[in-house]
Amino acid sequence: MGLLNRLDDPIQGDGIILGTVEDLLNWGRSKSDWYLQFGLACCAIEFMALNAAHFDMMRFGAIPRTSPRQADFIIVSGTVTLKMADRIKTLYEQMSEPRYVMSMGSCANTGGPYWEHGYHVVKGVDRLIPVDVYVPGCPPRPEAFFEGLVKLQKMISTQAIFRKREKMSAEDLAALELRNKKIQEYNERAAQENIEFTNAKHVGYSRYSLDFLNKGEQS
């Protein structure tokens, strides 16, 4: 909406503004997206620099949260390994809808320098969870990250809530279809895995407690 940015007084009258609820909701959502603080590798150091005085990420309204329950989007900043894969899925599932994923850096996009010989590296976090914005770079410059953040904000602010399909252009519709398809695929896969997991012999234990059990057997 951009009203708060203007210093002159564009609206004459008694302060009544006409607009849609959709715009208001989207404006609120896009300008205060909180992210899950989740550093993985080298990109996390660049990410710390983003939060510090020089780049000051909070001016975009992005505030770090340490719990996935309070976060709007998750920034996967770094190399995702197979040992970490289950944890990332768990974190993503703990976030409440609507949730978004930003993949930061080459490693999270495609496996980065480890794409060929990394036997323990997931070649792209989009094999685990659906990704909305990819930021390239190894590690991305802070400016590149901001571009990605602005892209995400734009995506959120133009999301149609009411009468979605009628108002969207063909390109946006295709993009939305793709996103929905990715999320649907993810949900189906997650449900399938859940069934497999509960049918396995370790019923009643989470994957975390399984590690404890393994440890108890060995020691």
Partner: protein, 158 residues
């Protein structure tokens, strides 16, 4: 102490257990010993006032075509000298006594050597995988290692 002096002194104490000393320009000096009495040798190296190798810098495995080798890099902080020990193990049954009770730092190094090469360290307090997941199969740093297709349903190859 130079490597030669260390070798002579070990040789006089342990005899046949000490196999050879290699000292040339291309390599750092290393001593090859038999695996049977490695803990006693290490205890002497640590406690003898002439040696005082109180600091284990590194322990690692090696996969040579004929054998698996454990390499010990030792350093003495008070006397400022270094030595490298090598123990050669056969590939069928690679096991050697753990030196964890000599240098505590060997604990994690040995776990890593087990994880990466499958070398068994006997009497190790907690010999489980350290870097790869606990249910990982195979030992990645062996030369004949083939990476698995999938792990927990995630495709590994690019």
């Amino acid at each position: 102490m130079t490597a030669n002096e260390i070798y002579e002194k070990l040789k006089s104490e342990f005899g046949d257990e000490i196999i050879s000393l290699t000292e040339d320009a291309a390599n750092e000096a290393f001593i090859v010993v038999k695996p049977q009495r490695i803990v006693e040798i290490c205890l002497v190296l640590r406690d003898d006032p002439n040696f005082k190798f109180d600091y284990m810098a590194n322990l690692t495995g090696m996969d040579y075509p004929n054998n698996l080798t454990v390499v010990y890099h030792l350093y003495s902080i008070p006397l400022n000298h270094r030595i490298v020990l090598k123990v050669e193990l056969n590939k069928e049954n690679p096991s050697v006594e753990s030196v964890e009770k000599v240098w505590k730092t060997a604990n994690w190094h040995e776990r890593e050597a087990y994880d990466m090469f499958g070398i068994i360290f006997e009497n190790h307090p907690f010999l489980v995988r350290i870097l790869t997941p606990y249910d990982w199969e195979g030992h990645p740093l062996r030369k004949d290692y083939k990476e698995p297709e999938t792990y927990h349903g995630v495709k590994i190859a690019y």
